[in-house]
Amino acid sequence: MTPGEPLIRWDWVQSHLPDIAQRIGEHLLLAGIAVGVGFALSFVASLFIARRPWLYPPVSWVFGVLYTIPSLALFSLLIPFTGLSILTAEIGLVSYTLLILIRNIVGGLRGVPAEVRDAALGMGYTQRQLLFRVELPLALAVIVAGIRVAAVTTIGLTTVTALIGQGGLGFFILEGILFFFSTPLIVGAVLSVVLAILVDGALVAVERRATPWARLGRS
C-alpha cells in the first residue's frame, strides 16, 4: 500500500459499480451451485443411511477426510485433471459442504421422536410416506441449520476460487493483494461478509416460515 493513500477510494468504487455487481453475481452462483449440489449429494446419501444405518460411519469418514484437505492443496491436485475451470472450483467447494450437510440431515432425521414414528407406522404410513410427510418436515429445522452453516462457509471459501480464475468477490481481494491497493481488497472482503450475513438471514426467514409449529410454547 502506498503511504498517504486512503484506506478506501470511493471514486474507484463508484467507477467499478457494474464490475462489482457482476462479481457479486458470480460469487452467488459459485456458492449457490456448491451448496445445491452438496445438498443433493448429502440428501441422497442420508436417505440410504436412514434405511441402512451402518453406512453412516464410512460415509461420514470419507466426507470428513474431504473436509480436512486444505482448499489450495485440493485445487492444485485437481488442476491437472480438470484445469482452471469452474468444475475444479465446484469440486472443491462441494467437498466442503458435504460433511456439514450430511451431519445435519442424518441428525435431523434421527431426532424425530420414536413415538411419532411408531404412531405413523401403526396407523399405516408406508416408509416413503413416513419419510416425506413426517420425518423430513420434523427434521427441517435441523437441516436448514446445516444449510446455513454450509452457505456461510461456502460464501467465504468461494473467494479462494479467484486463484483458479473463477471470478467472484475473490477477484477483488486478489487484485488488492497483487497491486498493493487496499480499496478492492476491502470491497471484496466486506461484500463477501455482507453476502454471507444476508444469505444466512434469508435462510432463517425461510425456516421460520416453513416450521410454524416450532416456535409454539405450551399455551
Partner: protein, 383 residues
C-alpha cells in the same frame, strides 16, 4: 355416529422369541404360546409386570411385530395374509406417548388415517370436527392449533380421536392414559368407557396397572414374566378366584377392596330411613318415626337436606333446613362401592344417602352393607 361394530380377535398359540442380541437392544418382552379369544365389542386388557410381553402381543395384532410362531386372527382372517399398511389403516392405534405429529394441526392429525385412505378433503375435515366434538373438545378452539398448544389430557383425547377417525372395528391401546396425572387419568378412563358403550369397538388395552385393568376390562388377561398367560377372566373372577399365586400377588392383598370398585351403589343392599319434610312439626314426625330419633329431612323437591336429631328439638317446632346436619355423604346410584366406602370413612358417619339422577332420595347406604359385601365375595355378580 355409526360404527362398523367390533371385530373378534384371536391369538392362536402365538409365541415371540428374541435372540440374545435383540434382548440387549431393549426390545419388548417375549411371548410364550399365547391363546386368547376376544369377543367382538369387548375391552380386553392385557396386564402384567414390565417385560411380560403385553406390548409385544399388542403389536403382533397390527404386525408392527411379527410372531415367531402361531397366528393372530382378526375376524377369522390371519393378519399375516393382509398387507401391513392396509391392516393398520383398519385398526386404531393409541400409544402412551401419543405420538401426535407436532408439525400438523389438530384437525390434520385427527384426519391422518382418512387421508391415507383417500377420503376427499371436505369429508376428512368434517370427520375431524365430528370426532373432536365426540371426545369433548371444541373444534372451533382446537382445530387449527398445534399439539404443543394443548394440555396433556387434551392431547391424549386427540390421540384417541385420531385412532377412531376411520371407524375401525378394532382399537389397540398401549398404556394410553399412562402419561397423565391420576386425576386426569381417571376422567379419561371414564370418558373412554362412556365412548366405548356407544361405539362398541373391540379394544385391546395394555396396562401395567391392575386397578386400571379391573376398571377398564370386560376381560383381563394377566401375563407373567416370560410372556405366559396366567389367567384370562372377567375382573370379578380375577379377584374372587385368582388362578395361581402370581395372579393373587399381582391383584394384591387388597383384592377384597378392589372388588368393591366393581360394584355400584345401585347393586348394594340399601336400607330406608324415616324421612320428614320441611315445615312438618317435630311432634308429628316423632309420632310417625319409630324408636330412632334421627330422621332424614327432605326439601320440597324430595332431595335430602341432612339428618335431624328430633330429641334436640321441641315438639311444636317446624322443621327447617337449619336443623339438618348435612355432613353425611350423598351418592348417586352409579357411584362405585369403593369410592362410597372411602367417603364414608372420611366423613366418619355410619351411612350415606343415595339419590337418583334428579337428586331425589332413594335410600341409605350403610357402612355395614359395604362391609357385608367385603365379607361375602360369592354374592358378587361378575361385572
Amino acid at each position: 355416529m355409526t360404527s362398523a361394530g367390533g371385530a373378534t380377535v384371536e391369538f392362536r398359540h402365538v409365541s415371540k422369541r428374541y435372540g440374545a442380541r435383540e434382548r440387549r437392544g431393549g426390545v419388548p418382552g417375549a411371548v410364550n404360546d399365547l391363546s386368547l379369544l376376544i369377543p367382538a365389542g369387548e375391552i380386553c386388557v392385557l396386564v402384567g409386570p414390565s417385560g411380560c410381553g403385553k406390548t409385544t402381543s399388542l403389536k403382533m395384532v397390527n404386525r408392527l411385530i411379527e410372531p415367531s410362531s402361531g397366528q393372530v386372527l382378526v375376524d377369522d382372517v390371519d393378519v399375516a395374509t393382509i398387507e401391513p399398511t392396509v391392516l393398520r389403516r383398519r385398526i386404531g392405534y393409541v400409544i402412551q406417548q401419543i405420538g401426535l405429529f407436532p408439525h400438523q394441526t389438530i384437525a390434520v392429525n385427527v384426519g391422518t388415517v382418512p387421508r391415507l385412505l383417500g377420503w376427499p378433503a371436505a369429508k376428512v375435515r368434517a370427520r375431524s370436527d365430528e370426532l373432536l366434538t365426540l371426545i369433548g373438545l371444541d373444534p372451533e378452539r382446537v382445530r387449527d392449533r398445534y399439539p404443543a398448544q394443548l394440555s396433556g389430557g387434551e392431547r391424549q383425547r386427540v390421540g384417541v380421536a385420531r385412532a377412531l377417525a376411520a371407524e375401525p372395528p378394532l382399537m389397540l391401546m398401549d398404556e394410553p392414559f399412562g402419561a397423565v396425572d391420576p386425576i386426569v387419568r381417571e376422567r379419561l378412563q371414564d370418558e373412554f368407557l362412556r365412548l366405548h358403550r356407544r361405539l362398541r369397538t373391540t379394544v385391546i388395552f395394555v396396562t401395567h396397572d391392575i386397578d386400571e385393568a379391573i376398571k377398564m376390562g370386560d376381560r383381563v388377561a394377566v401375563l407373567q414374566e416370560g410372556g405366559t398367560l396366567a389367567q384370562f377372566a372377567p375382573p370379578a373372577e380375577l379377584l374372587t378366584a385368582p388362578a395361581n399365586d402370581f395372579v393373587a400377588r399381582f391383584v394384591g392383598a387388597d383384592r377384597g377392596l378392589k372388588r368393591l370398585s366393581l360394584v355400584r351403589v345401585s347393586e348394594a343392599a340399601l336400607t330406608h330411613a324415616a324421612t320428614a319434610r320441611m315445615g312438618e312439626r317435630v311432634g308429628e314426625v316423632r309420632a310417625r318415626a319409630a324408636a330412632d330419633p334421627h330422621v332424614l329431612l327432605l326439601d320440597e323437591r324430595g332431595a335430602p337436606a341432612g339428618w335431624v336429631n328430633l330429641e334436640r328439638l321441641r315438639p311444636d317446632e317446624r322443621l327447617a333446613a337449619r336443623h339438618a346436619d348435612p355432613s353425611s355423604p350423598i351418592f348417586d346410584q352409579e357411584t362405585r362401592l369403593r369410592d362410597a366406602l372411602s367417603l364414608l370413612l372420611a366423613s366418619a358417619v355410619q351411612g350415606g344417602v343415595v339419590v337418583d339422577d334428579a337428586g331425589g332420595y332413594v335410600g341409605v347406604l350403610g357402612l355395614d352393607a359395604v362391609t357385608e359385601m367385603l365379607r361375602a365375595p360369592d354374592t358378587l355378580a361378575p361385572a
